[in-house]
Amino acid sequence: MAAFRARGLEKRYGSVTALGGVDLEVGEGELVGLLGPNGAGKSTLVKIACGLVRASKGTAEVDGAPAGSLAARSALGYLAELFRFPGWYRADELLVLHQRLAGSSGGADERAELLELVGLSEARDRKVEDMSKGMQQRLGIAQALVGSPRVLFLDEPTSALDPVGRRTVRGLLEELRRRGVSVLLNSHLLSEVELVCDRVVILARGVVVAAGRTEELARPRGVEVDTAEGTRLFESARREDAPRIVAELVAAGERVYGVRVMESTLEEIYLEAVGGQTT
């Protein structure tokens, strides 16, 4: 059973089509990156999954239950792109509130573990209003993990984080994968998605324009060889051609210092898929 499945999902706001028939699946324990320019429909898709927005057409299921149902909401954790917690709550108090709302029996142990996981153990008694935006975002991730959800929807979880914070979140995502939690990660940070996600789905103008593993989506761009004569690019060559090219160069008396198989980066895949669309 897929952790999250969308079939023909459409959402229209008046004459504006936010989603134009999206099919998407996140498998058990899979970490899927959702990419796309602003206005592509990424947040709308995540909000439909969480029951915050109603689909105009199509179906969405979370852990086998219709999105928005009690069963679906019991199975998910969510961090919104634009969220705020009441400033007077202390970190620990906020998690207590969400434990009660989620029906979690994890108690103080769960709270301590979550705060440690996001690097906020020292800020347990700090008020939200006294936290930096990055700390609030990490607290938001901890909040989303309350009750050990089976599916996690993270909408731009690292947008306010510094490089160290992003690394913490990357480590956290890898830990979640180890625990078998499914994650749909909506992010603009391609490098981050490339580093942690099993698959990527690229949305543009409300439809999926590319989906798959990064290596599946990547296009060969030749083989680059460093020789005594300088760097030579064999444009039409692929990975499997590399040993032959090296052998031929060596046979021809050239000294080979390095070989690189060139493939398009996720950024290039992305730009090609969205056609340079930025908004």
Partner: protein, 288 residues
Amino acid sequence: MRGAAIIAGYAIRESVRRRVFPVVLVLTVAFLALYALGVYKAYRSIDPFATEQVGAGALIDQQVLFSATLFGLSLFAVLFLGTVLAIFLTHAVVRGDAERGLLQPLVVRPVGRATLLGGRFAAAAIVCAVYVVAVYAAALLITHWVTGWWPDRIVIPAVELAGAVAVLVALSLFGSIVFSATANGIAVFMIFGAGLVAGLLGQIGEALNSNSLNTIANTASWALPFEALYQDALNGITADTAGFTKAALSLGPFGGAQPAGGWLGPFVLAYLAGLAAVALAGFNRKDL
């Protein structure tokens, strides 16, 4: 029920942390102090044991006229302060909180939108009802302490005022689904004002025997039952007063109310249920 209790606790805590209660407490103490001073000073300026001859054998009891009028004024103030509290507790519950990103983390939890709305209503209605009854009791004791007068009905008017603010809480919660926080606050204050104006029109209509004004007032009372509850509470404090004293009271703005009849209570409950159904339907359809 458990989910509603959690949400209600969250709402009450939010009010405490937002310092709504200290502000309301300060304003209430100021009102009660001024009310006590006003009643005391005004009472000293009349002869409470005098009766005024207004015609052959017709007498007006000055003590009742004075006390009921001033206590009626305090009922208006109690309702007004309760309305202010109701609006501040509820004006931003749905759209306002959603726009600030406060609502989404709560709504995705498995508590349900109905529970969320019910919890917020329960919290605000209970807080406002307790507040209104407490201020009503304080005003009553001040009035009695100065004038020695007790109203004809004590408990029912307090319950009706509490019911009136519960209706306003429901209206404000409903408005919060549709309007932004500021627009909703303004809208509910205007509805409150419209209801009171309609009530005054009804009193004028009664005095002038104008069917048109009475029809307007009655329609407004059914559409906005907080007004009918307030009018019935006003009527209750001099329910057993009769004769020229009652007639003199009816000429003032705080004593001429008509009894609402036995259907008011069931109607208010039905009104709240209907409003809850419409609000929930709107909330369930709302994209956050």
